[in-house]
Amino acid sequence: MKMFKVFLLFLLFIVKTGDVVAQDRIKIFDSKTRAELSSASIRVIGRGAGSNQLVSFVQDVKAGDTLEISHVGYVTQKLTYLKLEQQRFAVLLEKAEGLLEEIVVNTGYARVPRERFTGSFESVGNQDFNRRVGGTILDRIDGLVTGVQFVRPNSTSASGLRIRGLATIQSNETPLVVVDNFVYEGNLDMINPQDVENISVLKDAAAASIWGARAGNGVIVITTKKGRQDGRTDLNFSSHFSITNKPDLFYSKRFLPSPTIMQIEREKYEKGYYLISDQQQPFPEYVELLIAKDRGEISEMDFQNRTDMLANADVRKEALKYLYRTGKLRQYGLNIRGGSQMVDYSFGIGYDTQDDILIGNDMHRFSITLKNGFRLSSALRVDLNVNYTTREDAGNGVSLENLSTGLANFGLSPYIRLRDGNGNALPVIRDYRRAYVDQANEQGLLDWSYVPLENRWLEDRRTNSVSFRGGTSVNWTPLRGASVNVSYQLLRNGSSTENFYEKESYYVRNLVNRFTPLSGSSPIPYGDILQRFSNNAYTQHAVRVQANYTGQFRERHEFAGLVGLEASDGKTDAQPGFLLYNYDKEHRLGENDFDYTFYHPVRPTGSGRIPSPPSASSLYIDRFLSYYGNMSYTMEKKYGLSASVRWDGSNLFGVKANQKGTPLWSIGTSWEINREAFYPFRNELPYLRIRTTFGHSGNVNKSVSAYPIIYLLPDGYREGIVTADLQSAGNPSLKWEKVSTINAGLDWKSRGNVLDGSLEFYRKDGSDLIGEDFLPPSSGIITGGTATRSNLVNYASIRSSGMDLRIGARPFQGRFRWTPSMLISYVENKVTKLSINESLLLSDYLNSPASPRVGKSRDVLYAMPWYGLSHDKGIPIMYIDGEQTTDYGMYYKSLGYEDLLDVGVTVPKWYGSFRNDFHWNGISMSFMLSFKAGHVFRRGSMPMAGEFSSVFHEDYFKRWQKPGDESTTYVPAYQETAQPYSATVYLDSEVLIERGDMLRFKDISIAYTFSKSPKMSKLLKEITCRAYISDVGLLWTSNRAGIDPDYIDASYYAPRRYALGIQIGL
């Protein structure tokens, strides 16, 4: 009780002191939002020595003084204080263009002014976020934030990102995504980018540890637009249109021209590689032609004509003509924001429609958002928000890869034609031999041919997704600086996929034919089929109760703290779908009353059951419970101290109760050197701050278990029998993964914000990492077995360390503004501890990612040594104990881990961007270059007998042909029967390693803004037109092979996208 009284006294004390600053008389506002900027500083200049001081009291100011008003992130203004009587006046500060515009960090728990924040974070404000027209949310921050690395180029989900390297080896590496203060478990594609106000990226322990056990990989905090409280109303309408070029299908190196493939197929045919099977496994068209010729079924001339036709065909040209198109994306958005101190609102509607570059794939998204804030009394504010998004994706496209049968003896025929000279769609060989398919009509079966261009419109595959996000937050401020906040959010995501097959579709005809007995009719009715896959619904309730306090006393001490508790309960409920035969779409009638257990004889051979409706139903529950606290203390605005603690618990299954939770903490300090009396560079560098933080966050691996865990499922074949898969044999000593981070940063700003930047160094140590031990199969844990989680142990530690540098400049700040900025990041990681048997299998190191080794990076790439080709045969030379050999099996077995070469890492060590923004009279132009360096990749090639496993590559033409060629090529000679390991000794050798350094012209954007001017109608406030080109092209790369290192083995690189947009503000 006594303590409580002391606390109350303490509160009163704070409230009483610390006012009467200059801002009482001179109010400073943001020129656009009219939000008061309470932490601006005012200086008197040109009053001789000792001036240039911070003005605390307006009494210090005399008439005629020139005041310099500055604020972090704003253009500094100078004005002359004219009359003494002018007791109060307002100054409007304009936001500085550039990266530093956000001065408040939203951590998801609190909005913290930058100067109180000791941790490492980056913010992307609305202006920068909208610099890219179209594109996804994550796409729009690519290149804008240091330390954020797109490991998968153009990734639309956070799993393709790394924030400051790696902190885990086998657990989840995905950064945590937070939307409007709650962890977002849905698909980011369900959020309309137009609704986003800003994004913060939390990088170090002090920034992220508030998110606790799941923050080890960094946190991305997305905040959506809110209403405005200044009594004004904004109406914004935007429309964007972008087109994406057709892909460059000729980029792929894994393609050989038709005549070459035909020659290969001919040789294989003559050697008897095409075995006629009861399953009627398909042969390439040219092989069928050869068979027909040999059997005398076609004339020599006919054969020649058809051979010529195939030789002249190129499936890539066909695909570009009939399968791909120029992609189109249209985005429309309407946003109305307004309100007063009492009630504010934001309302948005967005509609996107996209025609993918693959004909048959399209997307529609509709979203509606409403946010309302009510100030019920001076101490009580209630916020409500709802967001509803629906999205439909059609996936009926037939890609180039879809034309391949996927069979080792077949692959993708380069001479496939999709239409004949008369424009008729042509059949393509798919599941069975052409001869078998052709005789279907004679056998009384339905036409059995697969015609991709027709079939594309006879099968309709659609996914419908719905997302609802609604929440409320009550904020009670009983005392100035102290508040209690209770918030709740409901998130519901659902999606279901439906396939509709018209009776004429290949799917239905194939099914009916397969089940048609030798005599009699097929048990499967010849009619449309509708199939609904399981319907996944995710429902999450999240509640947070938090008490905040901020205060200042005796001018010198500022304190902010919060404590809270948070609980979330996420449930994924999957309901089985259905399968209706003989479906009548119009009247919604279908049949599903079949005997699904009976084995029918099927064609071409064997037996099968009628495909049965799905019965899988599942329920997953994810629960988290956390207690947390966070405080920061600043003395004389010079010295800052921050600390946080957090306890996290989750419903990990099969883990002893005391291991369900983990306590985490962080601590940080900052020092604004420029405020020290001894600071010598006040004029040149008025802002200089050092920050250091240390702390722990974690990583949750839900697949661990201390006890044996089984997974129950119905047998499906044996009626009434429930079977169990052993999922884990259990490991009683598992612990949670822990990530500790040290961060040291330096922020600076030159006079008038001409040059600003920050430099940070960090080290991130992941320990107790959970990973797979290599168990002998006699343990029962086997490759491809059910108990895949049994071999999980806390086995390793990893250290990521690096540097992030951000430099921004404003050399011109007048009517013409030029703001170049540069981001450079360096990161590398190293496995520092490994407590399991190191793998002894060479293939574990040659695969990617390689099996971890102490001292090596997680991204390391190993290669086998290369000694060139032999003179007489043109096959790779190898050495066993100094003896030259070409017995690759013996050679491979003679190799140990020590014989492998560490050729580098696959993930760039250096990356960053260089951006230039120009602004003149409402016209702005911006372009960005991005670079990646310090990494390597393994390119593909043509192995010695690749023909026989359908591995093709352009290097086919560089093959060794005759003695002497070994001096000009390293591509081994053709060999009919490949020795064991002959492919790996070449494909995994150092000779195919390329450097990945590259410089890319990321994008260019031009915008023109008509601001409010007398010429414009009174209604209109602003019109902005934008033109934007993304993925302009690769400017330079260090590799000799003409490969874009971001798209090594891809069929094509990201096609260039052009966008136009208009934004009208009323």
């Binding site: 329920l619 089984i710 029962g780 060479l842």
Partner: protein
Amino acid sequence: MKKAPLNILVVFSLSVQLSCTDSFLDAKPDAKLAVPSTLEDYNALLDNRIMYSKASITLGVIGADEYYINDGRLTTLTNAYQRNAYTWRQDIFEGGESDDWNQCYQRILYANLALDAETKDFDKTLPLYKTVIGSALFYRAHNYYILAQHFCKVYSPASSTTDKGLPLKLDYDVSVRPKRSSMDETYRQIQRDALRAYELLPEKAVDKYRPNKAAAALLLTRLHMQMANYEEAEKYADAGLKLADQLVDLNTVNASEDYPFPDQPDDNPEILVHLSGALPAVIGLARFNISNEIFSSYAPDDLRSMAYFFRHSNGATVFGGGKVKYHISWVGLATDELWLCRAECRIRTGKIEEGLGDLNHLLKYRYVTGTSPHYTSLPQTDALALVLQERKKELVMRGVRWEDLRRLNRDNESKTDLRREIDGEMYVLKADDPRWTWPIPDNEIALSGIEQNER
């Protein structure tokens, strides 16, 4: 006055929170997950499909002399171990894993986990308890038995304490890594498990996917025959036949069908327990040819040549006689084997007429009605040769040929060398060659450090 409400509030909120914490975080993350605790859970483990499919005898089938493949068809095999095992190479795995080895040990893990039920507080007289423990012991015994026939030398009483047996894992803890036991220990363990399974298993299981008492009896018979204890073996064969002796008269089967036997194991009265194997490509129908020696050994009136084989569209004679339709690789336990085992044991122990009686009984069900031979008054060696020949004909492609060859190679009079000719090259596996024992897979040796077989 003032003090009390606040304290109550604090205490109340704390207690609410703490009690919530426990139950809130105790929710199962996946409704289908369970820490096995009930007999039904343990039983469900044993009903897993891996327990009766993927039976691990591919190496034995590939290595035995029941089939051949045509020239040019060996090099086109992508799977190294199949290519190498066909010609009994020294190293067959080329660093790859062995599905045979892996699947057996995975089943042993399942069995070991089910056997954890013994440590729990269950009523040991419950039928379900007996079924769970009995089945688990059967599976463990059967899988160790299969492993021993492939990866250990043939059992020899003289050297069984020094010959290398299997690493015997007897609990589910994956961190326990046993070394290789002796042959004696391995066989004693199998015998112990099989005997307890025989005592616990019901006469009739839920269906034939699960073992019953007669199946355990046949396993014990096989084991004792491998150990050359023919009297013991006969005892269990006899016990097995008392439980299940029914045979299917091939005259009642439409032998002209490619796959003439029923769809479901329960519909075939000969089946004791259903086990089927993966079909390696080397013996897949595209390459398969039945051994001419076996195919020509069926008499004209013997219905088996028709019921067990059919002509493939590529002209080859292929096997279709799995006891369950379409199961080309059916390797379960059945009554015909019981009859043959008892016949052999009786002949070997001098009860020649009784033995021939068993054989005659079986053949009645295999020949056109009224034409089956009636063997009587033969010298022991002739009778033995006859029963072994019938064994080869009846149990063709059932995965027992390899283990039969191995045990018969112990006796000088029944020694067999295997020969294969392919692509103009002759390969020979002499009866006393160490390559009758397959090598232990390389990854097992590397990770557990156990001793490799001499080959």
